[in-house]
Amino acid sequence: MKAVILAAGEGKRLRPFTETMPKVMLPVANKPVLEYVFDSVKNCGIEEIIVVVGYKKEVIMEYFKDYKDIKISYVIQDKQLGTAHALQQAKNKINDTFIVLSGDNIIDQNSISNLINDKSEYSILIKEHSHQSKYGVVFIEKTILKEIVEKPKEELGKFISTGIYKLPYAVFNEIEELTSQGIYTLSSVIQSIIEKNKNINTIIADLWMDIVYPWDLISVNEIMINHFPSSTSGIIEKGVNIKGAVSIGKDTTIYSGCYIVGPVIIGSGCEIGPNACIFPSTTIGDNSVIRPFCEIRNSIIMNDCHISSNSHLSHSIVTKGNIIGNNFSSITGESTIDTEGEFKKLNNIGTMIGEDCTIGSNVIVEPGVIIGRRCKIDHLKRINKNIPSESKVM
């Protein structure tokens, strides 16, 4: 059986993180979300993965060039019209029953096995979820799908669609019919199949996680980091204290006097310390430098970052290529964030920084502030509101 993975979308709600990469490439525990999907799929007897790419496709292709043990082929969706349209792009590569997944949700292998082994011609994975307004809510009788309602205004049911289906080849007829009428979403296709009295079986997924907003990355990372085995390579100098599950990549040096409490993942080619403290559940990418006397707690630091001495980061995200001066401080606390006209209250949040910023010394950032990509912030600044990409704070 083949698997189609939809990975063409941008993930606008995750800007500025998605300005240079598609949503599926956001790293969780130092691994892109898409790689979790690949890993789960390849161990279920899938013989080929067809990835539908579009937005920033090179980032995906470049990253997965070394991916082992399964054939990967790419098809391109030029305009991101919708999920059914995306799937339609893969039609030529499919000749039998297949599964389709979205590349931006973490899913476990077991659930996919259950889906593949399900006897029904059409099957869907569903999941209980408390915030339904962003998803397709499903109504079922026994295990048979009765209706999908996209993004309901009120809380309606209990389960949502994970967007993961097993479908027969014949589904392309339905897709073609609907896309020719300008309807491009897969849930509309499924709804129309239900209306034609076909049975669609539902299966409840074990582990399924979605990242909708930038701060979701912190909580998803917190969960996934526990699945990571501890292993240490590189150079660990005398006088380093390591407790709990800590993974350290090759060519990384941990200098004397560091105190690291797992779960923590540190990539390869990093330099940490001397005398830096790293607390749960922190992930540090490749080739990053954490200078002396830093404290980092429950945060994600991605590749090629440089964090100078005496900095404090907690519940924060520092994406690729950031250069941060001495005494940087992210204040952690409550913040109310306006998202698409809705106010969302976060209890414990630090700062979120887009790629390739240069931040001077002694900069303080208030809770929940998002700094865009390629910003330059001068020394001794206090940042109390979001900064759009490519700005200069003088």
Binding site: T20, V53, K57, E58, I60, M61, E62, F64, K65, D66, Y67, K68, I72, Y74, D251, T253, Y255, S268, G269, E271, G273, P274, D286, N287, V289, R291, D304, H306, K320, G321, I323, D356, R374
Partner: protein, 604 residues
């Protein structure tokens, strides 16, 4: 420059050979052929792409065979001249990479004895000689034959009467044995085999191997059997696939943020402010070096020229950069000078010859190469790997920037040993080096701007590149990249040299790419641009992001992020690569396989 593959195992030889040939075709690709023993020896050859050959071969069983992609050196591109070449009795088949220097003489002698030849190749004489020497043992016949021939060769031979074995032999041209389970391979290059095995044995000069399904015996030139170690290659065969990019070259350009980090990996320590190499290399670099000779060919030569500026500025010792093909005959040899050879493949025959000359005259030698286990790593006192993974595109991209990085690191190491740079200066460079990956990323992000400029110049007949100082070799490299893949005539000049001749070629329709850095020559370069503009051509400036002046002087500007002058050469190179790529792409050129060119030049 031809690609060679031999297979002996349990799979259908035809499929394996065709598959491997496809992975080898960057070595040469004007014609191809395979020979398979299935009771009888059968040979199939075609002119053109491998896929063409694939279509012409009927279903054939047989699990032993040889295959070849040709890049013509002797004889035109015809079906007859393609390999394998077979002997008159049609029992022996030979594939060959290299040049037999005395083949005319051998051919005449054989013709006197009554032999008739069907091709113009030097290879055919090998098949004839083997048949003449054959006395029941194929390896004996090959031993005798290689005594007769002079020049460079890597050959694989098989015989219908001994259908269980392949014989391989080499001198100067590369040949490796791939070790599988119940199957073995002989090939000219690693990427051909990676799909099947990553265990390889490198044959040395004059050695001969006998390869059956489950045994490999290697003999030195005195027919004495020897033990050799297997190297495990860490490359993955998917590295040698395009993974969705339209061309290998683009994939390799986009790989550079990563390969730059690979080249730096484990070699710089920001906290300790040190550059670290293995003890052996550090000893070589501290060896009271008074001067350095860099020898290389093609793009590697240009990275050597960049290295010259870097080493001279940081270490204050003179550096002479010479083309390997010249150095080997005419170079000055000074025992207190360190000879650094730069070769991506480690098999470039001119560079190897230059190294052998240097060794002979008692110089210490250091190789900078991308291939572990290659000849260059074995005939030098030490080697530094660029660690860039396999490069398939004929136009070198990522290995060029990695070579510069390695030269820079070596320069910084020498400077710290010689104390020509302070620890603080070294620290400054380490911080700047760490920014490079991010800076390349920023340029790749702006690739669209470069496409727009490419559209403006794609129809030109001729394009000039100019720069001063370290940017002079970059303008040579920019011109080389452009001409080799887009077929537009391009030349690089030192900006100050334009008015001493090349100006005569400048017309309104000759766009000029000017590399402008904010250094002591900045104003001079603006003046040069002024002189050019006065004659009407479009000027495309590659300039620092903080340069606010340049827009007044140039028609188009591509920006690169500020860095130390010595290091900005890396982002500038990436811009030049993208420019060449997009111009060639707009002109629909076969970017990964430019006409008449091959990746590793293993003939002289």
């Amino acid at each position: 420059m031809c690609g060679i593959i031999g297979y002996n195992g349990f799979r259908e030889a035809k499929n394996v050979l065709i598959d491997c040939l496809k992975r080898l075709d960057y070595r040469g690709y004007d014609s191809a052929g395979i020979g398979i023993i299935d009771d009888k020896l059968q040979v199939f050859k075609e002119v053109g792409e491998i896929t063409h050959l694939e279509k012409e071969i009927p279903t054939i069983r047989g699990d032993i065979g040889i295959g070849h992609t040709r890049w013509a050196t002797h004889g035109a591109v015809t079906k007859e001249n393609a390999h394998p070449q077979i002997s008159p009795n049609k029992k022996f088949a030979v594939i060959h990479n290299g040049i037999i220097e005395n083949f005319k003489k051998i051919k005449e002698d054989l013709e006197k004895k009554g032999h008739t030849f069907t091709s113009q190749t030097d290879t055919e004489v090998i098949a004839h000689l083997i048949e003449d020497h054959y006395n029941g043992s194929l390896e004996e016949a090959v031993f005798e034959t290689i005594k007769n021939i002079q020049g460079a060769y890597a050959i694989v031979v098989m015989c219908e009467d001994e259908p269980e074995k392949l014989i391989g032999a080499r001198r100067e041209s590369p040949l490796i044995v791939g070790v599988g389970d119940n199957e073995n391979f002989i090939a000219s290059d690693i990427p051909a085999l990676l799909k099947y095995t990553n265990r390889v044995i490198y044959l040395d000069e004059g050695e001969l191997c006998v390869v059956t399904k489950n045994s490999i015996n290697i003999y030195d030139k005195n027919k004495k059997e020897i033990e050799k170690k297997k190297d495990i290659i860490t490359w993955d065969y998917k590295d040698a696939e395009k993974s969705g990019f339209p061309h290998f070259m683009l994939k390799e350009i986009f790989d550079q943020p990563n390969t730059i980090n690979q080249a730096l990996r484990g070699r710089i320590s920001e906290i300790d402010q040190t550059i670290n190499f293995s003890e052996k290399i550090e000893k070589l670099l501290s060896n009271d070096i008074e001067s350095i000779n860099i020898v290389a060919c093609g793009t590697s030569y240009y990275s050597g020229l960049v290295g010259k500026y870097v080493i001279e500025q940081t270490c204050r010792i003179p550096v002479i950069v010479e083309l390997a093909s010249e150095y080997r005959f005419f170079g000055t040899r000074n025992k207190s000078s360190l000879v650094i050879a730069i070769t991506q493949s480690g098999e470039t025959s001119d560079t190897l010859a230059a190294l052998r000359e240097a060794n002979k005259s008692g110089c210490k030698t250091l190789a900078i190469t991308n291939v572990i286990g290659s000849t260059a790593t074995r005939i030098t006192n030490g080697y530094i790997l660029t660690q860039s993974g396999p490069e398939i595109g004929v136009a070198a991209t990522k290995t060029f920037t990695s070579q510069i990085i390695v030269l820079l690191l070596a320069a910084l190491k020498i400077a710290s040993i010689k104390k020509t740079l302070s620890s603080n200066d070294i620290y400054y460079y380490i911080l700047r080096l760490k920014e490079l990956s991010r800076q390349i990323r920023l340029i790749l992000d702006e690739s669209n701007k470069i496409i727009k400029i490419s559209e403006k110049i794609k129809d030109s007949n001729s394009i000039f590149f100019i720069g001063r100082g370290i940017n002079f070799p970059l303008s040579l490299e920019g011109a080389l990249k452009l001409k080799e893949i887009s077929y537009i005539h391009a030349e690089g000049f030192a900006a100050g040299e334009l008015k001493h001749g090349p100006f005569a070629l400048l017309t309104k329709k000759t766009p000029v790419v000017a590399i402008v850095t904010k250094d002591s020559t900045y104003n001079k370069l603006l003046a040069n641009i002024g002189e050019i503009k006065a004659r009407g051509p479009q000027v495309i400036a590659i300039a620092d992001e903080n340069d606010s002046e340049i827009e007044k002087h140039a028609d188009y500007v591509v920006r690169y992020p500020s860095n130390s002058t010595l290091l900005s050469c890396i982002p500038i190179t990436v811009i030049l690569q993208l420019l060449a790529y997009h111009v060639a792409d707009l002109r629909n050129c076969p970017i990964d396989k430019p006409r008449n060119l091959a990746k590793s030049v293993t003939v002289e």
